[in-house]
Symmetry: C2
Subunit: 416 residues, 2 copies
């Protein structure tokens, strides 16, 4: 029997937070966004983190499968990355001129990412998806952008939806939408909007929320690539979430095609704040001509951390390792579910797995099971993909399966 | 006679940079942007920084009056701020849940900034100007935004210009423009666009590039405030550049009026990467309803640094101190210019001074003088405002004036 966690301090902190912060906690880390369902099963504030573990404000420990929603790829507070960052900090971080770390980081990315002839650094995934779309528009002198339904490319008005608060029709009137994996519909869009489509933007596979994650069908991306070539359209891969967990050379490389532009953030520097747009040579001058800059974009500490992170990921052949760990966990969870007669669907690439109990259309049973896992120290979410990090050990995986087992038994007893 | 600097290593690094980075160095820190004129007088890469000094890749030392374009407000590598950040880093930075540092920072800002009933944190100034405009549109259910000509509010497409690369007409078709300090023109805009104006957005005074900086005329802001109240329009102050160098309570407070929303970045955490939107209570729920988030936005290290930075700025009564230092420098430079028969105009608030030699319509003489200063160790720019930081000593100011004196003598000899 595992201890059941309580969240008194988290709740006290939240009641302080709502007084001075909109929503108390806003965005994807907040209880209002829909990742924490049921919200009463979740802690809301952390005290510290180490390796694969998150400790909440009440001192409860979790095996953290959200990994800060991606950034934690090597383990929290990885000593090698933190030491590289610390050394750079004694020299300088955000200064009037950039340091040579910027060049070294760009050179390393060009050497690591298959399509990268250059790199441009910013702070948010959103910064680089926006720059990618501006680059496509500048290059093609066209306006329209194709999105795959279920997409997420950040929070700029151009990538939001017309019924979202603060968005006006002009923000999104050049957006076209097509179903994931529907190559015929995409072909039709190109025919309907002849010579008007600046870019197709997509995540490497559909890893959206509230739905099983879906890989590309055979040759889907190759056909998209062909259509883009045929129509002179820029192909943008948003690798902000999946980047470096499938393939260090880029998730386009994993699926056997070449993007023109690829967007990275999250796992790029193990949590140090930096994002990058990488692209092919033919777009480099276009990017140079775009007015795009930010106060902290050339800060040297995140570059030093990013260099150390990429080097360590290369040394570990990390995506392979994370997919292996994720596969072991996936098999363990599915087998345990079976013992209780549950059919657990685990979708997506195992380093980014998505969970759903089948034959549960209301998702209530699934949410109950997730809640019982969380309250015993396994930080899953009900409707968002999860993330594996390098510090997750075989013992952690075994403990996760044991807790999942007890959680299954609790819901089985409750409903029989 | 001061030593004349050479930039061999900077140039070597730049030739490496252009191979893997668009423009080599992009944005406001790059040689293409127009701040470094003449570019051959400038170093391009830094090796380290400390206090008020920047050391370039060739080991040359500068008294740095750009302060990373604002972030360096207490001195580079301030030990107090760095220690607060280091302590937080051992606990955790970017983790799955926010830490209590987020709440403490929001509480401190609400206690410091006059109009702040709440705070929302992000990474770029651009993030929070965008959120401000979205908030105004959501609150008013209107589209149009009034800008003061000469403005800069970041790089999102909505705040760029139609002839800029990558921008489409839909991005900017709801923008209205009015001359700075022209209250009658603003009043007319409100009459022409009755019930259509969501927001007026402005810097606290006109501190744009390539022009003398201009303070608001008497009662200008009070009249703008009255018009906004009359028409139900949200008044947004973009304090990204000037924030905390005029008044810790906000630059609106310095000029005796109240913004509805105020945007901070740069000096908020002495270079640690964080920005903030602060606002009045009546807009808090509207902000809560907007979909706005980012991978690193709740990172705890920049919050810890921001708390330490605000506390130290309060203890030092910093804006007063920076304005005093700026005033001493300004008077020294003007007096030295006079010795050589030059009329040096120093505009803007002295903690953010802008320089121009008068009776020099081509600006060539001014640029020559700036070049001679830079090559001797005073990092000025020709057409951008400057920044004062707390670590600038009286000896630094004296040395600056001595170098400026020699630079005046060089151009005097050259042109007589």
């Amino acid at each position: 029997m595992f201890k059941i966690y309580e969240y008194n301090k988290s709740r006290e902190l939240f009641s302080r937070a709502v007084k001075v912060i909109p929503s108390g906690i806003y965005g994807h880390q907040g209880p209002a966004e829909g990742c924490y369902v049921p919200v009463e099963a979740y802690p809301l504030f952390s005290e510290r983190a180490e390796g694969t573990y998150l400790y909440d404000a009440d001192g409860n420990r979790y095996i953290d499968y959200m990994c800060a929603y991606g950034p934690n790829i090597l383990g929290y507070n990885d000593p090698e990355i933190d030491e590289a960052a610390r050394r750079q900090r004694t020299l300088g971080d955000c200064t009037t001129l950039p340091s040579a770390r910027m060049i070294e980081f760009a050179e390393l990315l060009c050497d690591t990412v298959n399509i990268a002839d250059w790199a441009f650094f910013a702070k948010n995934g959103n910064d680089v998806t926006t720059l990618a779309v501006m680059t496509a528009r500048a290059h093609t002198k066209r306006k329209k952008i194709v999105f795959f339904k279920g997409y997420y490319h950040g929070v700029s008005p151009w990538t939001q939806k017309i019924d979202y608060s603060g968005v006006i029709e002009e923000d999104v009137m050049n957006n076209l939408y097509v179903d994931w994996n529907d190559i015929n519909a995409l072909e039709e869009l190109f025919l309907t909007h002849k010579g008007e489509i600046a870019a197709v933007i997509g995540q490497p596979y559909m890893h959206g929320n509230f739905a099983d994650n879906t890989l590309p069908e055979a040759d889907f991306w190759q056909k998209v690539r062909r259509l883009c070539d045929e129509w002179g359209t820029v192909l943008i891969i948003d690798d902000v979430r999946a980047g470096f967990r499938l393939d260090l050379a880029g998730s386009d490389h994993y699926f056997g095609f070449e993007a023109d532009l690829i967007c990275f953030c999250k796992a790029l520097a193990n949590g140090y704040n930096v994002s990058a747009l990488c692209g092919k040579e033919f777009l480099k001058n276009t990017v140079s001509g775009i007015s795009f800059t930010g106060s902290y974009w050339l800060s040297a500490v995140p570059f030093a951390a990013g260099i150390a992170c990429i080097e360590k990921m290369r040394r570990l052949d990390l995506p392979k390792l994370l997919i292996e760990k994720g596969t072991r966990l996936k098999n363990g969870l599915i087998d345990t579910a079976k013992k209780y007669g549950y059919d657990l669907h685990v979708s997506g690439v195992p380093s980014l797995f998505y969970l759903r109990i089948a034959d549960d259309p209301s998702l209530m049973l699934h949410q109950e099971w997730i809640a019982e896992c969380v309250k015993r120290g396994v930080f899953f979410t009900s409707h968002h993909n999860h993330f594996i990090n390098a510090a997750l050990s075989d013992e952690d995986i075994k403990l996760t399966v044991d807790i999942a087992d007890e959680a299954f038994s609790v819901i089985k007893n409750r409903h029989s």
